[in-house]
Amino acid sequence: MSKEVVLDCFGEACPVPLVKAEKALEKLEINDILIVQIDHSCAMKNVPEWARKQGHNVEIEEIDDGEWEVIIEKVK
């Protein structure tokens, strides 16, 4: 059974969301889902970019004005 972890990064500026996401993903098992909540538009660029480069599955959802969830499925 894969688990789902929500990482609240609202109110955090770059590069904090990226560093926190890196650390959180490290602790997860394969097939687990990490949901990074961000409201800093530059993290909207660098968090998905990093996760895709690592080879994970990434989806971005706009949940409100200026708020996004980056959904990362750990694949390896």
Binding site: G11, P15, V19, K20, D39, S41, M44, D64, D65, G66
Partner: protein, 182 residues
């Protein structure tokens, strides 16, 4: 009205130009073109942070202070700028333009949000970071725009030196950030 905006949201050109972030290369080209325009029309390279020193001086004069004997403002050029006043200071208008342009960009992408403070540590980190950046930019006679971007684009070696040390500073800063503010 709502139907109209829903239709705009689906428009591919709206998405390309306003909603999604421009690719880095497009941003780089636009910055280059506009800094050339700035240089050609104002005869001065683009700068941002020097303006804040002038704002500080005008604010200080407003409450009765005088910066006439300050080394930073001692050149005839700096004195003339101060005497001409903020209304005639082109760089001030450019900075105001940057602020309103950024506001327009987030509003157009419906990405505007007033962010909450997460902890008192953020306040300390932001104040400390702002003070260090402002102080550093003034004793270096430029920030990453005036000293780095404008320096390098006018073939000045100082821009590259500034860049190298800014890179070192960014590494040290990131390490400190992770260690003390996360």
């Amino acid at each position: 009205m709502k139907a109209f905006f829903d239709k705009i949201k689906q428009n591919e050109f709206y998405k390309m130009w306003f909603k999604d972030a421009l690719p880095y290369i497009t941003g780089a080209i636009l910055l280059s073109v506009f800094q050339i325009v700035t240089f050609a029309t104002t005869k001065n390279p683009w700068g941002v942070s020097g303006v804040f020193a002038n704002w500080g001086a005008w604010l200080y004069q407003l409450i009765g202070g005088s910066v006439d004997n300050w080394y930073y403002f001692s050149s005839p050029g700096a004195q003339a700028t101060l005497e001409a006043g903020i209304i005639n200071h082109g760089s001030t208008w450019r900075n105001i333009g940057i602020i309103f342009g950024a506001l327009f960009a987030t509003l157009a992408a419906s990405g505007f949000k007033i962010k909450k403070l997460k902890s008192y540590k953020q306040v300390i980190a932001a104040s400390l970071g702002g003070l260090l950046m402002g102080y550093g930019a003034r004793i270096a006679f430029g920030c990453n725009i005036g000293a780095l971007f404008s320096g390098i684009s006018s073939m000045s070696l100082s821009g590259w030196v500034f860049g190298a040390f800014m890179f070192i500073g960014a590494i040290v800063g990131s390490k400190l950030l992770v260690k003390y503010f996360m």
